[in-house]
Amino acid sequence: MEPIRKHEGLVYPLNRSNVDTDQIIPKQFLKRIERQGFGQFLFYNWRFHHDGTKKEDFSLNQPKYNGASILVAGENFGCGSSREHAPWALEDYGFKVILAPSFADIFFNNCVKNGILAVTLPEEEISQLIQKAENETYHLTADLENQVIYDNEGFKTSFEVNDYQKEMLINGWDDISVTLTHENKIKQYESKKVGV
């Protein structure tokens, strides 16, 4: 996966809580056996009518959010189904960073595996960012190395990230190769506990 150290981008605000992965990528698009190409189906039922025409009133369809790469959303983002197609769709659409007051566990892990930086920020800061991005063309920078998010108008906040996940994201590592460096330990465990 692509390493992510620092990312500057246009902010798209999605002022909703409990956005579930069924909304992020509806089930009719889970039948594909590839990893790529899910971006066109992102938030499909919110973005498109039954006949496939765009719902002009849905915010992501507004031209001012074209090219957005930082998503700011309400709490419990990514709840529900474990489908990794959700981060695949977000990533393929162009989102590299997601900010929310909280994330569902499985979704959060799936983001890390796909090089998406998911950051938890206090609710007040998220509300502030959502408001700004709704009212103006708003850019943020997410600096993973220094664990800060800032804009060029004086907003700056630090965030927590687990050291292991930080290392994976910054290096763009595939964790299977990391795990296989512990192969001896897996073998030892198997010979002791489960039989070979």
Partner: protein, 472 residues
């Protein structure tokens, strides 16, 4: 004396392969269940990197999400067909046992694991499906994972996991007549919301939990993910042991007794410390119906739809307004006035034999309301056979239900079992998200008994009014 431990701590300690300060633990995975939807990209990843499946015999595959539930072999959707064929090819190539569409063991992955005795206390169990929490009913540590993690488990039989916090949900007292395990878990989520479990593994304890059957326990643990919890489990007891006795993949004879002793020893110790505890009184719970677009938007059948004007914050008001708009409901409308067009009895939450038996008792000798299409989708082909041996298929069919083959079906509507736009369904499944059962379809989650009652009357009806059926 050693420190008292929770079952989660005991299972965790037994499965740590590698531990390093500042990192998650590397945990061994005993059982990996896979299905057609979340596995193809994982196998592709293995192939691209020249990796093999480390322990194919600890992996078990079935087809459930996409399979047709009638006219079994007519898969109209070429993409679905390709996905199922891909699973078959992957299982053949990597030597993984597969219960495919023609196999007598085929069924919903979370129904067949327990049914075959693959699910056992103390195991770490994962699957690329969030409802893997179901297997926690046996005192297993079972959780859903994404496709990258599926690939990781296939390649290494391990996963990196941060040690979870533990939440004890103690359910005191006794559930009333006509009040089910589904109502219990819906009431918990209705009370505490859809994110209180985030970061926790829930252990369900208390008298009301102890008196549940294994199938009822599976219903409760199944929906732990709807509270945000990664997993939910119940300490093993004699009920667990008796359910497992004689199952195909559990040991026999003296080896079974030995295993049973080990299982029972996993139960949380007296005095074990949880990060958090919540207590619930089972006797206060009524049959539940969801009114909104997440499982936390849930009320007793005797209640009325919430009024956004009474919301405690702007955010809550916006959430309720959005949900009522999607669901086409009016504030303060009595839930029992909501008329439905569809009934779905099925899913990994409620498609086991006892679910079908209970629903059949309500339906027996009655007729499905003329405006309703009702289907029963057994959780596995083996549940289907048993139900047919008991004549339940005839009870359902005579009442006007359709009787189908096993699969996930209308729970997520990936196959042809879809609710049309704007129509409303009483569903025994686990998610009432927007579009879950079909684009713009409206889902109300209920127990099998409540779904059966609604099928007869045409609107939500307190199943306790069907008193004669409940005396059985």
């Amino acid at each position: 004396m050693t420190q008292p431990k929770t079952i989660v701590e005991k299972i965790w300690d037994q499965h740590v392969v590698h531990q390093e300060k500042g990192k998650p633990d590397l945990l061994y995975i005993d059982l990996h269940l896979i299905h057609e939807v979340t596995s193809p990209q994982a196998f592709e990843g293995l192939r691209m990197n020249g990796r093999s499946v480390r322990r194919p015999e600890r992996t078990y595959a079935t087809m459930d999400h996409n399979v047709p539930t009638r006219e079994r072999h007519i898969i109209k959707d070429a993409v679905s067909k390709k996905q199922m064929e891909t699973l078959k090819q992957n299982c053949d190539e990597f030597g993984i046992p597969l219960a495919d569409i023609d196999h007598p063991d085929q069924g919903i992955v979370h129904v067949i694991g327990p049914e075959l005795g693959l699910t056992q206390p103390g195991k770490t169990i994962v699957c690329g499906d969030s409802h893997t929490s179901t297997h926690g009913a046996f005192g297993a540590l079972a959780f859903g994972i994404g496709t990258s993690e599926v690939e990781h488990v296939l390649a290494t039989q391990t996963l990196w996991q941060a040690s979870p916090k533990t939440l004890n949900i103690k359910v005191n007292g006794e559930l009333g007549t006509g009040v089910t395990a589904k109502d219990l878990i819906l009431a918990v989520i209705g009370k505490y919301g859809v994110r209180f479990g985030t970061g926790y593994v829930i252990e369900y304890t208390g008298d009301a939990v102890r008196s549940l059957t294994m199938e009822q326990r599976m219903t409760v643990c199944n929906m732990s993910i709807e509270a945000g919890a990664r997993a939910g489990l119940i300490s093993p007891d004699e009920t667990t042991v008796e359910y497992l006795r004689g199952k195909r993949h559990v040991p026999e004879g003296a080896a079974f007794d030995e295993a049973a002793d080990e299982w029972l020893a996993l139960a949380s110790d007296e005095g074990a410390v949880y990060d958090h505890t919540l207590e619930i009184d089972a006797s206060e719970i009524e049959p539940q119906v969801t009114w909104g677009t997440n499982p936390g938007m849930c009320l007793p059948v005797s209640a009325s739809v919430p009024d956004p004007a009474e919301a405690t914050s702007d955010n809550k008001r916006a959430e309720i307004e959005h949900a009522l708009n999607y669901m086409d409901l009016q504030p303060n409308q009595p839930i029992s006035d909501i008329a439905i067009e569809h009934v779905f009895i099925g899913s990994c939450t409620n498609s086991r034999i006892s679910d079908l038996q209970k629903a059949a008792e309500i339906v027996r000798g009655k007729t499905v309301h003329s405006s309703i299409t009702a289907i029963v989708v057994p959780g596995s082909q083996s549940v289907k056979l048993q139900a047919e041996a008991e004549g339940l298929d005839v009870v359902f069919k005579q009442a006007g239900f359709e009787w189908r083959d096993a699969g996930c079906s209308m729970c997520l509507a990936m196959n042809d079992d879809v609710i049309p736009p704007g129509e409303r369904c009483a569903s025994t499944s686990n998610r009432n998200f927007e579009g879950r059962q079909g684009t713009d379809a409206r889902t109300h989650l209920v127990s099998p008994e409540m779904a059966a009652a609604a099928a007869i009357t045409g609107h939500f009806t307190d199943v306790r009014q069907f008193t004669s059926a409940l005396q059985h």
